[in-house]
Every structure is written in structure tokens, then in C-alpha cells.
């Protein structure tokens, strides 16, 4: 009997975690306006500027960088950079975990383990 209870309890726990995982998959919504402006991410070494018209630019301290278009889909900031003269595009996606007027915490979707902190400039 004890053994059956233990198995049931374990199944419940597993089910609970499974359900809780389903809840965690729901994307939180962030205020897009908080993203506007110029941010600096030390670990990347770049300044990101998000304009309200969904254009933006990232650049290093020397001004070398690229223009991009961005969108906020749920908690994901999708950035699409394009070539200046060559017809080529590339994407990067940052998943926001925390956002306020001064600070944004996120991670690269392809590298969730590395936390990125953006400081408003």
C-alpha cells in the first residue's frame, strides 16, 4: 500500500511539474515604450538604440555597427539586421526576463544560460 501511495505521489508531483511547465510557457507582456531609447550591454560591448518607429542601431564605442529593424513579440525582441550593399539579412532574438525604465534583463534565445543586462543610457 505504502508503495502504491509513493508511486501515486510521485505521479502527482510529475503531473504538477508538467502542468506548471505549461504555465511557465505563457509569454509575459512588456510595455513596448519602455524599450525605446539607447541601452548599453556590457557583456556584448554594444550600444543598442531602439526607436519607436521600430528602427534601431547597435554600435560599439567607435560607432561601428549596423542598423536594424525590431519588433517586440511577447517577451521576445526580434532584431533583423540587413547588409548595407549586399542583399543579406540576419536575426537575433532577446528574451526579456525583466524590464523597467533603467534596466532590462534578458538572454539570447540561442544561449539561454547567459544572462544579459542592458542599462538605459
Amino acid at each position: 500500500m505504502k508503495k502504491s501511495l509513493k508511486i501515486l505521489a510521485l505521479s502527482l508531483i510529475v503531473t504538477l511539474f508538467t502542468l506548471s511547465g505549461c504555465f511557465l510557457d505563457d509569454d509575459p507582456e512588456y510595455d513596448e515604450a519602455l524599450i525605446y531609447g539607447k541601452w548599453y550591454c556590457k557583456s556584448i560591448g554594444l550600444y543598442y538604440t531602439f526607436n519607436s518607429n521600430y528602427n534601431g542601431r547597435y554600435e560599439d564605442i567607435n560607432g561601428d555597427g549596423k542598423n536594424f529593424k525590431w519588433t517586440l513579440i511577447g517577451d521576445a525582441i526580434e532584431i533583423e539586421a540587413k547588409g548595407d550593399n549586399i542583399n543579406v539579412n540576419a536575426y537575433e532574438t532577446y528574451i526579456i526576463t525583466s524590464l523597467n525604465v533603467a534596466k532590462m534583463e534578458c538572454y539570447d534565445r540561442l544561449d539561454p544560460k547567459e544572462k544579459l543586462i542592458f542599462i538605459k543610457q
Binding site: 554600435e59 549596423k66 526580434e78 550593399n85 549586399i86 542583399n87 543579406v88
Partner: protein, 1115 residues
């Protein structure tokens, strides 16, 4: 002799004869009237008053027999002639203490007065002319006949003895400013003088003669009508003069011997001072009375002669000379010889510029001897002369400012021979010395060398025509022969011609003759050779200016060697140079040119400095012409043609050989102020061989080149300044510098600033053949920044072995710099950013290069029909849609390179390979294997798309924030190769042993953004398994990566995943360590009904990247 002196002498003679006549007259009167002294005295005085128109007085006149025995004599004491005139210092004209006259008594009795003896003792004569020309002796000079002509007494002179003692004579002429004082004149004449014969002895002694003449010359100046007087005061003084003479005049023959001597003779005339000490002249003469035949010997001796002329002093001691002359007028012949000798001659020239006298020049000759002989035809003045002067020692020194020149010889000979024959004159001066030394400022210029000079000159008597025929200058056995002609047309115009000839002259001896003071110029120069020179000149002298009609020179050097400090050496067995003026060119523009030719059978020049440079010519023949040099060198016309059978040149290990080369260079001056100087070059040679060391070499066949240039001095840019136009035609070139053969069958181009046209260029490099043709325009406008540099060229090749070509480039790019090799990449980059010299695409250029390569081989792949367009425009290079195909693939390439600034370079590439085998793709682009490592596990056809761009630093290091790129690989029906990775996957996923290694389709997209390479998840369907693979690797030192493989469909009840993490090298070395099971990350990505929003976004991105890349493919 001046007229005044002649008058004076005439007057003195008349006075003496008058006195003698008076004496005879007195004797006659005495004999005739009374013999008592008072009576005689009275009578003589009275008679004298008759004959002498001035006051005459004589005291105590007496007859004497004893003193004049056997003649009767008359002794007269205290004779005085008084004739006062204004300004005279004395009224007395003549005073005689005592005079004795002896007359022939027999003749006297026949009323003839024949004077046999006369003696005068203690006489004074004062002859005076005042400034008005009035003289106290003028009364004797009048032509009024004397009263004795009316007398019937005949007076004659048959003088046997004449004695004069203590005669003092003064002659003062205020008008002519002449004063002469003769002191204590004594004379004794012993002989016979009658109407037919003269013979006897004369002894004369004078204690002192002093004379002064002030010569006044008036110079009228017409400008201001003033008169300037030049006074020249001449003083002559002779002391202790003695003279003796004996001679006969009879039977039409004159014989005589005269000896004259003076202890000291002084002469001053202006700046001239002369002094003769103890001179003596002996004259021994023999002539007929008609003076048609004569013979004489004159001997002159002087102990010392001093001559001072202004600042020049000359001393000649122990001079002895003998003049031997024979004159035969009937036979028109006068001939004579002169023998002279002197112990020493010293001459000094002093400087008068300062109060301190200093020697300017000195001349010293020792043991001088002179011999001269000659004859003359006095009728036509033809004659011949030969003079030889020999001396034991000649020494001279000249000091002028800072220059001291001295010359001396041990022995010397000066010769002069000449003749006159009709209108022709010939004269030949000769100078010989076995040892001449000339020094200047302490440096020896001629060092005891033998010298011979002979100048045979012929001329006409009017000196309108002068000819020098082979005049010889020989110094230290080096001979120069000179000939010349001078024809004088008038005082302002003469024609001149000259020739110089050097037969054999040894260069080493000439160098040895160069004085030590020229050491800085000649130091280290050693040269040998035999020099011959012929030079000619023809011209005119017009109004003092030399006009050259023509000149020429021929210089021949045999066995020539030159060594300069062992750094420059030159050798030639035969060099000949010709120079001539004016040019023989008939072109009007080339008038008055110089022609020059240089011919050498061989010539070798070596220069050894830090490296060895050598040039060798065989049979070089050059010809040059040059115009007169006007105000500017740019206005010179010049032309040079050089031909050489063979030229061999080398610098260290670099060498070049030219066969049968021809160079023609010309320079034409501008024809007007708007024109420019033109330069033309024509070059050709049959072949050129060049080499750099033993490894590298290049050979060229026939080359011809023509170049022109127009110099515009205003322009600063080199090309604009010269505006060159070059036309080159080169055939059969080959390069022997690589392991593969390189040949250049034909190159032909035509370059000018307006158009650079390569009409033909073909280069064969190993297996490749390359041709570049086309035009470039507006180089001048581009340089002047007024227009674009435009052009279009075609690069064509039938076959290009790119692998081979790249191997050549790698050879050139190899470096042995270990220091750089051992440095970290980042340090190298930092080191080189500042010093990097990136290629900057020029602005203002609009250039198109059309490529057309039929077949290109690269990495064992063959590409066909490579065609495209490379444009360079405004700082951007674009390789536009270069299309080509391989055996199985179509390819396209577009590339951009632009350089906004040195530190901000840009490059972009868009590359497509369509329908290419995967292994071929990896072969072509090995980096694909790094990006998609599993790709090499597949076999099949694929499409490969790649696009990327980045900005770069000066050292071409990418600026990572600007790096963006994407690539897509699409394939169908792929077969998985049986390799290690497949087996690992199969083992980990529990695949069946019989699982087929086929994949229906593959669509891989990856992107590069900054330092991240993201591989978008792609699906692999194999056997009963489906897997999705995706991940990222970073562009860093380790290329660490994080890949994930999700097993989305399998026989297992659960979905599993595998993570592959670590550095790329570590994964390759030990894959099992880095492969770990994980949850299935992409489980629903390729199940449309289950796909979440994140997967949808990922697939949309993947699709966007793929479509963007494919849009670039040109259909």
C-alpha cells in the same frame, strides 16, 4: 738727334774753327805788320773786331818759335768773347786762358795761312739760348759773308797736331730746356788732315759730362679746350770718359779704330734710370770711300749695366759683345755676326702699390751667350737671320696677389731664325731646355721635364697673311703640333684657321704630369692609354669678336684603362670620338649644331660601391647632334643615336643583356612661345635577357618602342609635366623566375595621357593564358582633377589554372618573419594598423574590366565561361555578377570593395553555386566544412548561397560589429556517407543496422552576425528517424560551439535530444565527451499542427534568410 743739339754742335764747330782762323789770322798780321806783342795784340784785336761781330779781347799776344818749332807760332793769352744777351748767366761766350797756333812759315810768306798745330789751354765756353730763342752765338750762325772773303790771304788747314786741355763747356737752351755741361775736356790729335788724306790718332778725355733735357709735350683735349703738358726730364751724366781713335782716309779707303770708355754713365728719363759701369766700346772699321763696301768689328764690354724703369730693375754684369759686319752694297749684301756673352742678368719687378717694396717678379739668367748671324740685301731689304741664345741657368719668379709662380731651367736655348724674301717673311722662334721646372704657390707644375717649342711662322711683309706650319710643343716627351693661318682683310676683319695634332700621348704620363695641388681632383685616378687628337678650327675675327665657321676634333684612345679608387674601372681597346661644328645636318632648324660621334670596339665599366655594377658594350656606335645653347637649356635642339651590338649590364645579381640595340633620343625646342619642348625616343633591340640571381630570369625577343614627350614646366605632376606618349611592341618574352614557365608572346600598347590603349597583350603562365586589351581614357584630366579616369578593358583567357596562379602568389607572399609568426594575432593586428597600407580605390575613376575566361581550373575543378564585369567607380570596386559554370555547377559572384577612408574599408560578397556536388563544394570552399561539419557526411547535389559584408580596419581586420552574413545550403536525395559521425549518431539513437543512409531533402540556413554564427534548425529525415539540428558557434579563438540535435521521430516512446558543446577542435578529437543527452528542444518545430510561436518565428527567419539569398541569383 734733335735739331737744337745739331745746331749746338754746329755752332761749337764754327766757333772752334773761327778761333783757329783768328789765330792764323793773327799770326799773319804779326808777320805782316809788326812783330811786337802790343802791336800784335792791338792788331789782332782790331782785326778780330772786323771778323768777329761781338766784343773780342785778347791780351799779350806774342810770337813764339820754340813752342811750335819748326813752325812759327802765335801765343794768345786771355782771349775773351763777350756777347751779353738778356737772361744769360754770363756775358762771356768764350774765354781761353791760352791758345797757341802754329802756321807754315813758307806758306805764310806766300800769303797763305796754313795752320799746322793748334793748342788751347784752360778754356770756358758758355752757349746760351734764352726763352725767346735768342742766343749769344746767333751772330755766328748768320749767313752774312765775312770780310775775309774780300781779303786776298788764303787760309788753309794742314793740321798735324791739335791739343785741348781743360776745356769746360756749358750749353744752356731755355727755349728747348736743354742744359749740357762738359768738364775738363782734353783732346790730343796727332795726324794729318789735308784735302786728300786724313790719318792720325785722337785721344780724348772728359772728366764729366752732365746733360739735362726737359721734353714738354702738349696734349690738346678737344672736349674742354684745355691743354695738359707732360714733362719728361732726361738727365745724362758720364764720368771719366776716354776715347781714342786712329784711322786713315786715303786712296778711296777708310780704315779706323775707335775705342770709347766711360767709368760711370748714368741716364734718367722720366721713370727710366740707366747706369753703365766701366763700359768700353772698340770699333774696328774698314770701308771704301764710296761707302759701298765696308767691314767692321764692334766690341762692347761693360762691367755692370743697371736699368731701372719705374718699378723694374735690371742688372746685367760682365757683358761682352762683338758685332762683326760686312757690307757690300754693290753686291746688295750686308752680312754680319754677333757674339755676345754675359755672366748674369738679373731683373726685378717691384710692387709700387704700397710703401713697402716687395718683389713682384724676378728674372735671373746665368752664363748667357748669344750668337746671331744674318745678311740683308739693302736694295730690296731681303735677308736672313739666325739668333741663338744659350744659358746655363734661367730662373724667374712672379708674385701677383696670392699667387707665386717660379720657373727655372738648368740649361736653355732660345733660337730665332728667319728670312725675308720679297713679300715673304719667315720667322721661327725656338725654345729648348732639357729640364724645366715651374712651380706655383709651392706646388710643382712642371717638374724638371724637357721642353721643346718651335714655331715656324711665315707671313707677308704687310702682315696681312700669317701662317704657322706645324708648330711644335713638346713637354716631357708629349708632343703637340699646331698649325694655323691668319688672313687679315682689313683692320676689323680677318680669317683664322688652326689645326692641332697629337700623335701619341700617353695618358699615364699626362696624369703623372698633373701637379700635386690638383690631388683632390685626381686623387685615386689611375689611367693608361695612348691618346691621339686632331683638332681643326676655321673662323673669322670680326670687329674684335671671334666667329667660328667650323671646328672639328678627332680623339682616339687605344688600350684605355681607368681605375678610380678601385671603385670605378673602365677598359677599352679602342675608343674614337669625333666632334664637328657646325652640324652637317641640312635642316634649317638644326643650323649651327655640333655633331659628335663615339665609336668603341669594346667598352667595359665597373662600379664597385656597396654593390657591383658592371656595363659592357661591344661595338658601340653613337652619334649626337646638339644646337647652340641659347638662353635656356629647354631651347636646345639635341639628338643622340646609340647603336651597340651587345650590351651587358649587371648590378650585383641583377643582369641584363641587350643584343643589337638601337636608341634614338631627340629634343626639339619650342617653335614659339606657345609651343613646348618636344622629346622623342626610339628604342629597339633584337633581344634582351635579364636575370636576378640564378633563380629568376626574363628574356624578351624583338622590342621596339617609340616615345614622345612635351615638356610643360608649369605643370607639377610628373606625367602632366612631360605629357608622354609611348608606343611599345614586345615579342617573344619569357620569364624564367618561377617553377612554371611564363611567356609573353606579344605585348603592344600605345600610351598617351588622352588614351592608354593595349591593343595586344598575351601572357602564358604555366598552363594559363591571359590576354588584357582595351583602353583607358582621360589620364590627363584625371591627374588635373578636371575629369574622370575612364576606361574599359577586356581580360580574356582560353584557359586559366587558378590553383597554379594562386601558388605563385603564395610563393611571393611567403615570409620568414618568425617574430611575426610567434606573435598573437591581436598584437600583430595592433602592430600593423598604423603601418598598414591598404589598397585605396581611387576616386574619380570610371573603369570597367570585362572578364571572359573560357576555362578555369581551380582546386581540381573546372569552371567554364567565366564572364562578368569589374567596375571601378568613385572609390568603389564592384565585381558585378561574375558568372561561370563548372562541369556540374553554375556559379555567380558579385563582390564589392570600397574605401571611404583608410581606416574604414568595406567589402561585400554575394556568391552562389547552383547544382554542385557537396564534396566539390567542400573542395571549393573548405570553410563550409567548418560551418556545417556534418555536410561532408553527405553525398549528392546542393545549392550553395553565400552573402556577407563587413567594414574593416586598415589591416583588413573585420570590424566585428559590422559583420553580417548568411548562407544557405539546399540539397535533395542526399546519401549519408559511412563515417564516424553517422555511426555515433546511429549508435546513440539506437538505429537499426539496416537503416538507409539517405536524406530526402536538406535545407540549411546559417547566419553570421558580429561574432556569432547561428545554424538555424534544419530537419534531417533518415530511416525511421527524424532529427532537427541547430545551434551556434562563436567566432573566437576556440571556435566554441553549442549545437543541439533533437530526435523528433523514432521508435522510442520518448523524444530525446543530444547537446554537442565545446570547442570545435575538442569535439573533433573526442566527440563522445562532448555529446550529451538532453531534452528534445525542437520536438514540434517541423510538426505544423504543434508548432509554437517561437518555432514559427524561427522558421520564418530561416525562410527569410533563404529567400533573401536566392533573390540575388541571376537567372
Amino acid at each position: 738727334m734733335k735739331k737744337a743739339v745739331r745746331n749746338t754742335l754746329k755752332t761749337v764747330t764754327v766757333i772752334l774753327l773761327s778761333i783757329v782762323g783768328l789765330v792764323f789770322l793773327s799770326v799773319g798780321l804779326i808777320l805782316w805788320i809788326t812783330l811786337t806783342p802790343p802791336k800784335i795784340t792791338k792788331l789782332v784785336n782790331r782785326v778780330a773786331q772786323t771778323y768777329i761781330p761781338i766784343s773780342f779781347n785778347a791780351n799779350n799776344i806774342d810770337l813764339t818759335l820754340f813752342k811750335t818749332f819748326p813752325e812759327i807760332g802765335l801765343e794768345i793769352n786771355n782771349i775773351s768773347l763777350i756777347n751779353p744777351i738778356p737772361c744769360a748767366e754770363s756775358d762771356t761766350l768764350i774765354s781761353i786762358d791760352k791758345a797757341i797756333v802754329a802756321i807754315d812759315i813758307k806758306a805764310f810768306l806766300k800769303k797763305k795761312v796754313n795752320i799746322r798745330k793748334a793748342a788751347i789751354y784752360g778754356a770756358n765756353a758758355n752757349i746760351f739760348y734764352n726763352e725767346q730763342g735768342e742766343s749769344n752765338i746767333s751772330i755766328f750762325l748768320s749767313d752774312t759773308p765775312t770780310s775775309n772773303q774780300d781779303n786776298d790771304t788764303e787760309v788753309s788747314i794742314d793740321l798735324k797736331e791739335l791739343t785741348v786741355k781743360d776745356l769746360n763747356l756749358s750749353y744752356i737752351d731755355r727755349l728747348s730746356e736743354i742744359e749740357v755741361y762738359v768738364t775738363e775736356l782734353g783732346l790730343y790729335l796727332d795726324g794729318k788732315i789735308d784735302s786728300d788724306n786724313i790719318y792720325g790718332n785722337l785721344d780724348l778725355s772728359i772728366k764729366q759730362i752732365d746733360a739735362s733735357i726737359n721734353d714738354t709735350t702738349n696734349n690738346d683735349t678737344t672736349n674742354n679746350n684745355t691743354t695738359i703738358s707732360d714733362n719728361t726730364l732726361t738727365n745724362i751724366s758720364l764720368s771719366n770718359i776716354s776715347a781714342s781713335a786712329d784711322g786713315t782716309f786715303k786712296e778711296h779707303q777708310i780704315k779706323g779704330n775707335i775705342t770709347l770708355s766711360s767709368l760711370l754713365t748714368k741716364l734718367t728719363m722720366g721713370d727710366i734710370e740707366a747706369e753703365l759701369s766701366e763700359f768700353k766700346i772698340d770699333i774696328d772699321a774698314n770701308a771704301d770711300t764710296e761707302l759701298e763696301y765696308g767691314k767692321g768689328v764692334v766690341t762692347f764690354n761693360s762691367r755692370l749695366i743697371e736699368l731701372n724703369i719705374d718699378s723694374l730693375t735690371t742688372i746685367l754684369d760682365n757683358l761682352g759683345a762683338t758685332f762683326n759686319t760686312t757690307a757690300d752694297i754693290r753686291n746688295n749684301s750686308i752680312q754680319g755676326t754677333v757674339n755676345a756673352h754675359a755672366a748674369n742678368l738679373h731683373a726685378n719687378l717691384f710692387s709700387t702699390e704700397s710703401s713697402n717694396l716687395s718683389n713682384v717678379a724676378t728674372l735671373s739668367l746665368n752664363a748667357i751667350s748669344l750668337y746671331a748671324n744674318g745678311f740683308i740685301n739693302p736694295d730690296i731689304m731681303d735677308g736672313k737671320v739666325q739668333i741663338d741664345i744659350n744659358g746655363e741657368r734661367f730662373k724667374t719668379a712672379i708674385t701677383a696677389q696670392d699667387m707665386n709662380v717660379s720657373a727655372d731651367t738648368e740649361k736653355f736655348h732660345l733660337g730665332l731664325s728667319g728670312y725675308k724674301e720679297g713679300d715673304n717673311i719667315s720667322i721661327t722662334p725656338v725654345l729648348n731646355s732639357p729640364s724645366l721646372r715651374v712651380a706655383m704657390n709651392g706646388d710643382t707644375y712642371i717638374n724638371h721635364w724637357p721642353i721643346n717649342i718651335s714655331l715656324p711662322i711665315k707671313a707677308d711683309t704687310a702682315l696681312n697673311r700669317i701662317n704657322l706650319n706645324r708648330g711644335l710643343f713638346s713637354i716631357n716627351k708629349q708632343e703637340v703640333s699646331i698649325s694655323g693661318n691668319c688672313h687679315l682683310y682689313n683692320s676689323d676683319n680677318m680669317a683664322l684657321s688652326a689645326k692641332m695634332d697629337i700623335n701619341t700621348c700617353h695618358i699615364e704620363q699626362i696624369l703623372a704630369m698633373i701637379p700635386d695641388s690638383f690631388n683632390p681632383m685626381t686623387d685615386g685616378i689611375k689611367a693608361t692609354g695612348i691618346l691621339s687628337l686632331q683638332a681643326a678650327y676655321n673662323g673669322q675675327m670680326v670687329s674684335g669678336k671671334m666667329v667660328v665657321d667650323n671646328t672639328s676634333a678627332n680623339i682616339l684612345v687605344k688600350e684605355f684603362t681607368l681605375n678610380y679608387k678601385d671603385t670605378i674601372t673602365a677598359l677599352s681597346s679602342n675608343i674614337e670620338a669625333n666632334l664637328s661644328h657646325p652640324s652637317k645636318s641640312k635642316t634649317a632648324q638644326k643650323n649651327h649644331l655640333l655633331d659628335a660621334t663615339l665609336v668603341a670596339s669594346d667598352l667595359m665599366v665597373n662600379v664597385v660601391d656597396e654593390s657591383l655594377m658592371s656595363v659592357k658594350f661591344n661595338n658601340i656606335n653613337s652619334f649626337a647632334q646638339i644646337s647652340d645653347i641659347p638662353d635656356s637649356t629647354l631651347n636646345i635642339w639635341a639628338s643622340t643615336i646609340v647603336k651597340a651590338d651587345f650590351i651587358e649590364a649587371s648590378i650585383e645579381t641583377i643582369s641584363a643583356n641587350l643584343n643589337n640595340s638601337y636608341i634614338d633620343i631627340s629634343m626639339t625646342p619650342p617653335s614659339n612661345s606657345n609651343d613646348k619642348s618636344q622629346f622623342n625616343l626610339e628604342f629597339s633591340c633584337d633581344s634582351i635577357q635579364t636575370a636576378i640571381g640564378k633563380a629568376l630570369g626574363a628574356n624578351f625577343g624583338k622590342i621596339s618602342a617609340q616615345a614622345t614627350a612635351a615638356l610643360d614646366p608649369i605643370k607639377e605632376d610628373l606625367l602632366l609635366k612631360w605629357n608622354p606618349a609611348v608606343k611599345v611592341d614586345l615579342k617573344n618574352g619569357s620569364l624564367d623566375m618561377l617553377q612554371i614557365p611564363v611567356t609573353l608572346p606579344h605585348l603592344m600598347f600605345d600610351f598617351s595621357l588622352g588614351r592608354f590603349n593595349i591593343s595586344e597583350s598575351r601572357l602564358l603562365i604555366g598552363n594559363s593564358d591571359i590576354s588584357l586589351t582595351g583602353d583607358i581614357y582621360n589620364i590627363d584630366a584625371y591627374l588635373e582633377k578636371t575629369g574622370l579616369l575612364t576606361g574599359e578593358m577586356d581580360f580574356t583567357s582560353n584557359y586559366t589554372d587558378m590553383t597554379e596562379l594562386l601558388s605563385i602568389i603564395n610563393v611571393f607572399g611567403d615570409t620568414d618573419n618568425d617574430e611575426i609568426d610567434n606573435k598573437p594575432l591581436t598584437e600583430i593586428a595592433n602592430d600593423t594598423i598604423d603601418t598598414a597600407d591598404p589598397f585605396i580605390v581611387p576616386m574619380g575613376v570610371d573603369f570597367i574590366l570585362n572578364t571572359n575566361i573560357a576555362v578555369m581550373e581551380f582546386n581540381n575543378h573546372q569552371f567554364n565561361t567565366i564572364g562578368g564585369e569589374i567596375t571601378v567607380k568613385d572609390g568603389v570596386v564592384v565585381l558585378q555578377e561574375l558568372g561561370f559554370s563548372s562541369n556540374t555547377a553554375q556559379m555567380q559572384l558579385t563582390a564589392i570593395y570600397k574605401t571611404p577612408s583608410r581606416d574604414n574599408l568595406y567589402t561585400g560578397i554575394d556568391f552562389h553555386l547552383l547544382d554542385i556536388e557537396i564534396d566539390e563544394l567542400i573542395d571549393l570552399i573548405p570553410s563550409v566544412d567548418s560551418i556545417v561539419p556534418m555536410l561532408k557526411s553527405f553525398d549528392g547535389k546542393a545549392q550553395f548561397h553565400l552573402a556577407a559584408e563587413t567594414y574593416m580596419k586598415a589591416n583588413y581586420e573585420p570590424k566585428m560589429p559590422t559583420l553580417i552574413g548568411a548562407s544557405a545550403i539546399e540539397a535533395k536525395d542526399l546519401v549519408i556517407m559511412d563515417n564516424k559521425v553517422f555511426n555515433t549518431i546511429k549508435k546513440n539513437l539506437f538505429m537499426s543496422r539496416n537503416a538507409e543512409n539517405k536524406i530526402d531533402s536538406l535545407s540549411v540556413e546559417l547566419q553570421v552576425l558580429r561574432n556569432k554564427v547561428d545554424l538555424y534548425p534544419f530537419l534531417i529525415h533518415m530511416d525511421k528517424y527524424k532529427a532537427v539540428i541547430g545551434g551556434r558557434h562563436n567566432i573566437n579563438k576556440d571556435l566554441d560551439c553549442k549545437y543541439h540535435i533533437s530526435l523528433t521521430e523514432s521508435p522510442l516512446p520518448i523524444r530525446l535530444g543530444v547537446n554537442i558543446e565545446g570547442s570545435l577542435n575538442d569535439i573533433a578529437n573526442n566527440p563522445f565527451k562532448h555529446i550529451k543527452l538532453s531534452r528534445c528542444k525542437y520536438g514540434t518545430m517541423y510538426i505544423p499542427e504543434k508548432t509554437n510561436i517561437t518555432d514559427q518565428r524561427t522558421l520564418l527567419m530561416k525562410q527569410s534568410i533563404s529567400e533573401t539569398l536566392k533573390k540575388n541569383v541571376k537567372q
